[in-house]
């Protein structure tokens, strides 16, 4: 078993260009995807979303809304007329414009329907989703306070039509006094806090954690690893085509010993590839791989074992290298898509998220997210490692059975 593995490793390193490319390609893809997800740099925050602001009301309240939204970290406001904004959006240069129509302040204070509208580019739906999150909490935080005051005034008038104008004015003054009376007081802050929808980030950009970068590294590394292990698993079929497999079977070694030897060499190459990926991510992309090194080492090992078993599985169920190449490409692309390697899972519909659990990519990526993003302790990451090992056990068992069953056909 070890002799076969060592021979395979020797053969792997003989082709220096192939080794270089097998490491360079994933590195190039990781870098591109990390740039796409905006995740390069240790302390870099997510880029703010540009929002155009068309103020047609030009009142104190509309200015207050502008100031509040502009203070939001996730937004970058630009004041434009509606026409200018419309042109920029249509040219694809901006995503959305928030228009506050004339009468905005009056409507808010009167508790009426607020004349405002958000115009956006439908093609940028993902960015819009992120924009809405940042926009609504701030926008309604400002308008709600004024709106409640207006509503109270209207309610007093409606419910007490017998009251004389002077009495209504008196009550209004008292209500206004109640609201004004809270100015700069602790009670006002309390009410403001209570009236806003509390939004607490359970998972966020902790120290040295960067969602985009982790997504790019884990996603691409696992997908590329699956391609690599399929190729090395196919070396079993190359042995068959070259006639060396017959010679191996004649030698005093069991058929499963040959299979395990192949798996061992594939595992070595998988661990090497993942390790190089993470070292590169540390040195060049700024990922802190020392955040939980024992967990990272174990996770690399478990992911490599699961991926290697996939390579051997493909080699044992296919009859030729051509079959392995086409079938594994198809399977890898499918499981990488549903497993979140190509696109973050939170962009996907619910059904896809449910399907993701059948892929090796999903569990490996979840494990890496646990380490770098959620920063969980090792004990909480163990279940994912065990699932990966479980996948490996199932695939290896099928491979051994299939390999023994197809043995006659192979010679």
């Amino acid at each position: 078993m070890f002799t076969i593995a060592l021979k395979d490793i020797k053969q792997y390193f003989k082709d220096k260009t192939a080794v270089f490319l097998s490491l360079l390609l994933p590195i190039a893809l990781i870098t591109i995807f990390a740039l796409m997800y905006g995740g390069i740099g240790k302390s870099e925050k997510s880029r703010p979303i540009n929002l155009l602001f068309a103020d047609q009301d030009k009142t104190n309240l509309s200015q207050e809304v502008f100031a509040t939204l502009d203070a939001e970290e996730g937004l970058k406001l630009e004041s434009k007329t509606y026409k200018e904004a419309e042109t920029l959006i249509k040219k694809g240069k901006r995503t959305a414009v928030l228009v506050l129509y004339k009468g905005f302040q009056d409507s808010v204070e009167a508790g009426k329907k607020i004349p405002m509208e958000l115009f956006y580019d439908e093609a940028k739906e993902i960015e819009m989703g992120l924009l809405q999150q940042a926009l609504w909490s701030n926008l309604f935080g400002v308008t709600m306070k004024k709106g409640i005051k207006g509503k109270v005034n209207t309610w007093i008038k409606d419910k007490n039509p017998d009251l004389s104008d002077s009495e209504i004015e008196d009550i209004q003054a008292q209500v206004a006094e109640q609201f004004e009376g809270f100015n700069n007081s602790e009670e006002q802050s309390e009410i403001e806090e209570n009236s806003e929808l509390p939004m607490t980030a359970l998972v966020g950009e902790k120290k040295n954690g960067n969602l985009g970068l982790v997504q790019a590294i884990a996603g691409i590394a696992i997908m590329m690893l699956l391609f690599s292990v399929s190729a090395s698993g196919a070396s079993l079929l190359k042995e068959k085509e070259d006639g060396t497999f017959r010679r191996l079977l004649i030698a005093p070694v069991s058929p499963s010993g040959i299979l395990y030897g192949k798996m061992l060499s594939t595992l070595f190459m998988a661990v090497l590839q993942l390790s190089v990926m993470f070292l590169y991510s540390w040195l060049v992309l700024g990922l802190d791989i020392f955040i939980n090194l024992p967990a990272l080492i174990l996770m690399i090992l478990c992911a490599a074992i699961a991926c290697s078993s996939f390579g051997i599985f493909m080699a044992s169920v296919c009859k030729s290298r051509k079959q392995v190449e086409s079938l594994s490409t198809l399977i890898i692309l499918v499981i990488s898509a549903i497993g979140g390697s190509m696109m973050p899972l939170f962009f996907m519909p619910a059904i896809m998220k449910k399907l993701a659990v059948i892929s090796v990519n999903y569990w490996a990526m979840e494990g890496f997210f646990d380490i770098f993003w959620r920063q969980l302790p090792l004990i909480e990451i163990l279940p994912k490692m065990l699932i990966l090992l479980g996948i490996a056990a199932v695939l290896t068992s099928i491979s051994v059975i299939s390999f023994k069953r197809n043995l006659l056909k192979m010679v």
């Binding site: 076969i4 060396t244 010679r247 004649i250 005093p252 010679v411």
Partner: protein, 323 residues
């Protein structure tokens, strides 16, 4: 190439391999039927038959690669299937294809195959050096196999089967696809191994090879051994005694067809000559010449030769070895 000369072989003493009633079918096709072999220690046994006769299937079964549907195999009186790993160490196989890793050097290949048989360290290195010297490839030992010529690859293919000092070596058509010079080199290697006392089973569809190399020859066709013995025994058992070789200059389908009809099962038609198997060449020759004249086949040369395996095979099967 210079071969090291060693002491000549001991006379055969006892049996190295016994195969009893081997049968093997692939679905409906019978690949082997009741094949029996008794191979003496030090013997070079030739298995002669056309492509698809069952030679490779026999070697595959004898080397444990395939299991027969029926039959028993004994190496030095030990059952192959009950002593699989022990028997595997007694066996060396030179497969028909070049079963080597092209991107590794000769030394790396031999180291790998040696290690697979449990040979290690200095002993393995000495064995590799000795074999490369013996095969005349010591100066190319650190070159990748893919840079070797066909004949050189064939020699390394043989070396890989000899590393663990097997007691019996199966050579499955080891000269396929190589030039005459390389073929002769391989013959010299085989003859040298034979003189050292190594037991070998050699499959071929070239009668010249079997005639030159083998102590005994088994003629195999359609999965059955139809005749067996030394070349002299096979010749003396045949009703044919001589061969008439006719070289012609005007290949004519019509005349060749008429001759084939007349001498059904006796005539071999080659590119530029005919071979007629005959029990009495002097008696058959006049009629043959007359028939050639009648069918307007122009003869360049007439030759009467002693019986070859080709004619024996034709007599036994009614077809040519190269069919």
């Amino acid at each position: 190439m210079k071969l090291c000369k060693l002491a000549h072989r001991e006379p055969y003493t006892n049996l190295m391999l016994v195969a009893k009633n081997l049968s093997k079918s692939y679905k409906e096709v019978k690949a082997l039927t009741d094949v029996n072999l008794n191979i003496q220690k030090g013997e070079l046994y030739g298995m002669l038959g056309p492509n698809g006769a069952g030679k490779t299937t026999t070697i595959s079964i004898l080397s444990s690669l395939l299991k027969p549907d029926e039959g028993e195999i004994l190496y030095e009186e030990k059952s192959l299937y009950q002593n699989l790993f022990e028997c595997k160490k007694l066996i060396g196989v030179v497969p028909q294809e070049i079963a080597l890793y092209e991107d590794l050097t000769a030394t790396e290949n031999l180291k790998f195959w040696g290690t697979m048989y449990g040979i290690k360290g200095k002993h393995l290195q000495n064995k590799i050096d000795e074999l490369l010297e013996f095969l005349g490839l010591a100066d190319r030992k650190n070159h990748k196999i893919k840079t070797y010529s066909g004949g050189m690859k064939r020699r390394i293919n043989i070396a890989a089967a000899l590393l663990h000092d097997p007691k019996i070596v199966f050579m499955d058509e080891p000269t396929v696809g190589i030039d005459p010079q390389s073929r002769n080199l391989i013959f010299e290697v085989i003859e040298e191994l034979h003189s050292r006392g190594l037991t070998m089973i050699y499959t071929t569809h070239y009668m010249e090879e079997a005639e030159r190399l083998c102590d005994r020859i088994g003629i195999i066709d359609e999965g059955r051994i139809i005749a067996e013995g030394s070349l002299d025994e096979l010749k003396s058992n045949s009703s044919i005694k001589e061969e008439i070789h006719l070289k012609y200059s005007n290949p004519n389908k019509n005349s060749l067809g008429q001759l084939t009809d007349r001498y059904k099962g006796q005539l071999l038609v080659n590119e530029d000559h005919l071979i007629l198997s005959s029990s009495k060449a002097n008696a058959d020759l006049p009629e043959l010449i007359q028939l050639c004249s009648q069918t307007e086949l122009l003869l360049d040369k007439i030759d009467i030769r002693s019986l070859s395996l080709e004619s024996i095979f034709l007599e036994l099967t009614g077809k040519s070895l190269r069919d």
